[in-house]
Amino acid sequence: MTAQTHEGIHVGRLYKVFGTDPASVMPLVHEGIGKQELLEDHGHVLGLRDINLDVSPRSIQVVMGLSGSGKSTLVRHINRLIDPTEGEVRVDGEDMLALDAAALKQLRRYKISMVFQRFALFPHRTVMDNISYGLALQRLAKPERLERAARWIERVGLQGYENSYPHHLSGGMQQRVGLARALATDADILLMDEAFSALDPLIRSDMRALLLDLQHELHKTIVFVTHDLEEAIEIGDRIAILRDGEVVQNGDSQDIVLRPADSYIADFTKSINRGRVIRVGSIMEPLKPDLSGPDCPHDISVEEALPLAVASPGGEARVLNGEGEPVGTVSLGTLVRALGSEREHDRAAAGIAGQAAEAG
């Protein structure tokens, strides 16, 4: 281990260019050449540009973006399935790029595991053998392997399917196998590349619930790729949004919804149910000393706070922090305004200003 004992995942100034001679076009990339231009004039694909991302231990970092924005490329740098063109990747302080093949293998066996979009199960192995694959690579004795795998089979609800082959299972069940296979190795870090994207909506929300449930006990460091903002908000402690290989915004769900960095992100957030996503704590106003009640916790949603505010005579409620101390106020007006997006406000405001200007 190096002197740096910083826990978690650190990605710094990471660049990835695909093509025959990435080094030759790096100067252009640093000058800020566009992805399209790089491809058309120089025949190289810009995968990632200047990515800086820190994932704190035991948290869920979501990576979001449209197809082709570089999400898969980014997560694959964390276990070095892809080598960067430039930049650094550190896992718990350890420089991933300095590892030789043997050390890298060790790291993948014990420390980082992965769940795949199309499950990537081994079709010639039974559920049991799939789940114990990583354990076999850890050279665990067979009885222990089977015992541990059996525990995970039970934990993800696949009892009775131990000896089935993957193709006998539904998509949701296959991904349970994928999840159990990744968790069975006891790795601290879990990479999930669109792990639930191939599933039906209902199954998908089951799987999300399962994942959050597991995370509650296990406290893994999870990097979760998705292109679905709703999923991102439900799961992620932090959400990084990628566009054309660059991080456009990285923040928690409140940041993304309330303060989208640009119109690209605002577009993402348009279809979101704001009442359910926005927390009272992130829109409250300063505490009014004379206000006495009713009280609402800071982490309930706008939707949940509305009835409280409506029932209160002044249309206002006191917001309490985690310790139960009053820290702010929300009014009916604030709550209702939060339901419309910032941009609509701006547009409305601009419209009024414009009319005023015309009139004047």
Binding site: N79, R108, R109, A120, P123, Y165, H167, H168, T185
Partner: protein, 322 residues
Amino acid sequence: MESPGRGPPPRRPGGGGQCEGGQKPGAGGGEYRGLNFPTLDIATLRAVHKSIDAAYKTFSRNYGDAIESAFDPLLWLLIKFEWILLNAPWWVIVLAIAGICYAASRRVRLSLGVIIAFLIIGVLGMWEDTMRTLAIIFVATLIAIAIGIPLGIAMSRSNRMQAFMTPILDVMQTMPIFVYLIPVVMLFGLGKIPGLIAVVIYAVPPVIRLTNLGIRLVDQEVLEAADAFGAGTWRRLFGVQLPLALPNIMAGVNQTIMMALSMVVIASMIGVKGLGMPVLQAVTNQYFALGLFNGAAVVGLAIVFDRVTQSYGRRIQEQRQS
């Protein structure tokens, strides 16, 4: 086989439209000289042939014995296997073959069919020849697999290797069968070893090709999963790539066996004993029934091998795909 001084008539690719079909076979390109194609004159052509033959002859005189002794273990294997097949009681062999057939295919009717086929072969007096053919097919297939799978793996791992091998395999598969016999016989004379080698050369390309193809077709994401869990090159190859390529490899083995079987008849021209010999006799002496029976025995063997390897391939495929 003796002095191939008079080669095949020179090719006239696309040229001489008006004398299409006017070429007499074996005319040596003399009569129509000057019509349109600038052919080498006979003397030069003969000199070219001669110098190639001479070079090859020197090579075989110098190294023939050494190469031949390198093949001794194979000869030993072939002889032993043949001895077992010829000396074991016939019913043991029939039961053993039916057993292998059932183990591979899990099909009772197919296994019964195999028993009946071998009983008919025995009753019609072709048992000994069939056993000899079985022996050489078996050994040739083993060798083809032992050479073909590693080559196929090498091809799948590097595009350059693939680019290098593909034309060679194309040539091997389109070269007229008889041409293989010439250099092999010049090197080894007549007998089992040259027969075996000719059969293997002719039959090996499908295993190589389909091993390569099978490995290349393995799902990229599944390979990525193996990598992500820390599998090394070998575990990836033996734990994932080869098992997943197995249905394709089996298809290659199946084709290889079929080609070996068809080559066996031709190999009898250079002294390989077995079902090919009587067929050859039948052709030269116009024994229609003899040729028909022995030909039917070859077909029978082919069907048995084909059904067994195919249903084995299908069985492993069914296990993993819906």
